[in-house]
Structures are given as structure tokens and as C-alpha cells.
């Protein structure tokens, strides 16, 4: 139930961001710094989420099969594979590495 609360609040805040763009005067768009921060934060958050999902387990850093998934995804992206193929490459590699005994 607690998760529902945070989830619905997230939905509300996401809609608030979207709507605020339509309600504020267009002159705010001239403020380059707002756009910059929205952009750099997008890059930083996605980089951080990649690392956390690849190498963190709670408050521990762990090198396991997920690292293989990261490498496989990187190779797939270098070959310009579509999103779903990249995701499948990550899943397949992690599954195979576990099958081979590396957790």
C-alpha cells in the first residue's frame, strides 16, 4: 500500500512537469540554464541507474553476471541494434553466464 502512495505521487508529479510547460510563459524558454540542467540531469540519472543496476546490491558493490549483460548491451549498441535486441542481448548474456556458473 505504501508503494502505491509513492507511485501515484510520482504520476502526479510527472504530469505536473508536463503541464507546467504549457502553462508558463514562453519567455521562460529563453532561459538556457533550465534546459541545460534538464538535459545534464537526464544523462547523469541514466548513467547512475545503469551503474546501480549493473554493480550494486543494496549498499554493496558486486561484480556478477550483470557485468556481462552490460558488456553485451554495449556491443549491441555499437552495432546499432534496436532497443529490444539490446535488452534481449543483456538478458541472454546474464542467463548464459549464470548457467556457466558465474553468478
Amino acid at each position: 500500500m505504501n508503494l502505491w502512495l509513492w507511485l501515484l505521487l510520482s504520476c502526479l508529479l510527472a504530469y505536473a512537469w508536463k503541464l507546467v510547460g504549457y502553462l508558463v510563459p514562453a519567455t521562460l524558454l529563453k532561459n538556457a540554464r533550465t534546459s541545460r540542467i534538464a538535459g545534464t540531469m537526464t544523462i547523469g540519472l541514466l548513467a547512475s541507474l545503469t551503474v546501480v543496476n549493473a554493480a550494486a546490491s543494496g549498499q554493496e558493490l558486486l561484480l556478477d553476471a550483470r557485468l556481462g549483460a552490460l558488456a553485451a548491451a554495449g556491443v549491441a549498441l555499437l552495432f546499432r541494434a534496436p532497443f529490444l535486441v539490446v535488452v534481449l542481448a543483456g538478458a541472454g548474456t546474464a542467463a548464459l553466464l549464470r548457467l556457466a556458473g558465474w553468478n
Binding site: L7, S10, L13, A14, Y22, L29, M41, G44, A69, A76
Partner: protein
């Protein structure tokens, strides 16, 4: 809207791009649905994210934090900070499309990377309208349908680790980051924030390292002077050369008019 609109519909470059991006983006809703239920959310929580939050990066962020053992508050923080760029898109689209009345509130919900990119990639005002609404509505419908498919498939899978679904999440985040790494500065930001994350993990509760990285990135954006649309690329570019339908590359938007 002129009465001739329907007969021209499939000849419109923006409508064709919008439909093609809808299929490509909608399909990867499968991976969101499957990962969400294996992260510990139930079917309806997963659907609520796709229907109500409706922004791929933020949805993945929310489940990514939950999967890593982070609190609901940290998940909300990551999702909300990642959603800031939709506010910038809203400002751009409001100038281009001038939606009135209820359309403004509908347009807001459909304001995401791909619908914005489809619209701003066109130069003709009518095509900008068609591109936005085709991509926005098309992705909304297909994203939700495929989220449901993925969520049902994910619940049937059993042990998610055996299927490498934690590896799939890693790959999904890298795939979301990848199109934004154009040039040295975005790469520098990504490396800096990855390092900040690794350093923070042992010292703060799960989920918080992501917010530390966000703060580092925000400081970088505040003090540096790079292009103002850096990091604001769509996950799937509608005007990619592989899916070209005779249209203009992105750049005709209001983002390029700085002095």
C-alpha cells in the same frame, strides 16, 4: 481542421513517421512490463505507471530503484527528476502547437521524448500538429498494450534471475543513455555521475546514490555552457536514417535560436 484531412493522412510525412515511431516505441513496452513485475510491482501498479506516468525513462527509473531495494521516496525522486525534461518539451510544444482548452491537458499527458521529436522535426505547422498527435496517441496506446503483455509474460516466468532479467534492466538503462552520448561533454557527465554513484553506494541507503548523481549532473549543467538541448534526445529517434520517410532532421525546433 480541413475536411480533406483524412484523405491526406497517409501521405503526410509526419503521420508516417509518427506511426512508425509508435510501433518501435510501443514494442519496448514489453520489456518495461516484464521488468516491472519482476522488480516487485504488481500488474496494476505496472499499468498505473504506463497509463498515468507515461514517460519511459521515468518509469524505468522508478522500477530500477525499487528493484535495487530503494525506498518509494527515492524511486519517486529519481522518476521526478528524470521527468523535468518533459517540462522543457511542453514549453517548446506550446509555442509550436498552441493547444487550446481540453487539448492542452491531453497534449501535456502525451508530451514525451518521441512525440516532441516527431513534431519538432517538421517545419510545416500542420505537419507539426499531425506528427505530435499521431506519435503521442499511437505510442500511448501501443505502450500500454505492450506493457500489459510484458507484465503478464513476466509474472509467468518464475525466477527472473534465471532468465537474466536483471541483465535486461542493465541493458535497458544503457540503451536509454546511449543516444544521449553525442560528443565529449555528455560522455564526461555520464562518467562523472557513474563514478559518483559507485563512490556513494557503500555510504548511503539504496536509491540515494542515484539522487547524488542527479545533483552532480545538475551542478554540471548550472556551471557549464554547453548546448542547451544536450541530453534531450529521444530514446528512439524518429528521423533516424534507418527509418527515414522524406522529412527533415531534428533541429527546426525552438531550441536552436540562442544568440
Amino acid at each position: 481542421m480541413p475536411l480533406t484531412f483524412p484523405s491526406h493522412l497517409l501521405q503526410s510525412p509526419a503521420v508516417r513517421v509518427g506511426l512508425s515511431i509508435s510501433v518501435a516505441t510501443g514494442l519496448y513496452g514489453v520489456s518495461f512490463g516484464a521488468l516491472s513485475v519482476t522488480s516487485g510491482l504488481d500488474f496494476w501498479q505496472t499499468m498505473a505507471l504506463s497509463l498515468l506516468l507515461f514517460s519511459g525513462g521515468s518509469q524505468f527509473a522508478f522500477i530500477g530503484v525499487v528493484a535495487g531495494g530503494g525506498s518509494g521516496l527515492a524511486a519517486m525522486g529519481a522518476a521526478t527528476l528524470l521527468g523535468m525534461r518533459n517540462g522543457i518539451y511542453g514549453m517548446q510544444l506550446n509555442v509550436l502547437l498552441h493547444p487550446k482548452g481540453w487539448r492542452k491537458y491531453a497534449a501535456a499527458q502525451l508530451t514525451i521524448d518521441e512525440s516532441t521529436a516527431t513534431s519538432t522535426g517538421q517545419t510545416d505547422p500542420l505537419e507539426q500538429q499531425r506528427g505530435f498527435w499521431t506519435a503521442g496517441l499511437g505510442i500511448f496506446i501501443l505502450w500500454n498494450v505492450f506493457t500489459a503483455v510484458g507484465a503478464l509474460a513476466g509474472s509467468a516466468l518464475g525466477d527472473p534471475k534465471q532468465w537474466g532479467l536483471d541483465g535486461a534492466a542493465v541493458a535497458a538503462f544503457l540503451a536509454l543513455l546511449w543516444p544521449r552520448l553525442k560528443g565529449k561533454e555528455p560522455v564526461a557527465i555520464a562518467i562523472l555521475c557513474a563514478l559518483a554513484t559507485v563512490l556513494a553506494v557503500p555510504f548511503v541507503p539504496a536509491g540515494v546514490p542515484i539522487l547524488v548523481a542527479a545533483a552532480v549532473a545538475a551542478l554540471f549543467g548550472w556551471f557549464s555552457h554547453g548546448p542547451r538541448d544536450e541530453g534531450l534526445e529521444p530514446d528512439i529517434n524518429p528521423y533516424d536514417e534507418r527509418r527515414q520517410h522524406g522529412s527533415h532532421p531534428r533541429g527546426g525546433s525552438t531550441a536552436g535560436d540562442s544568440a
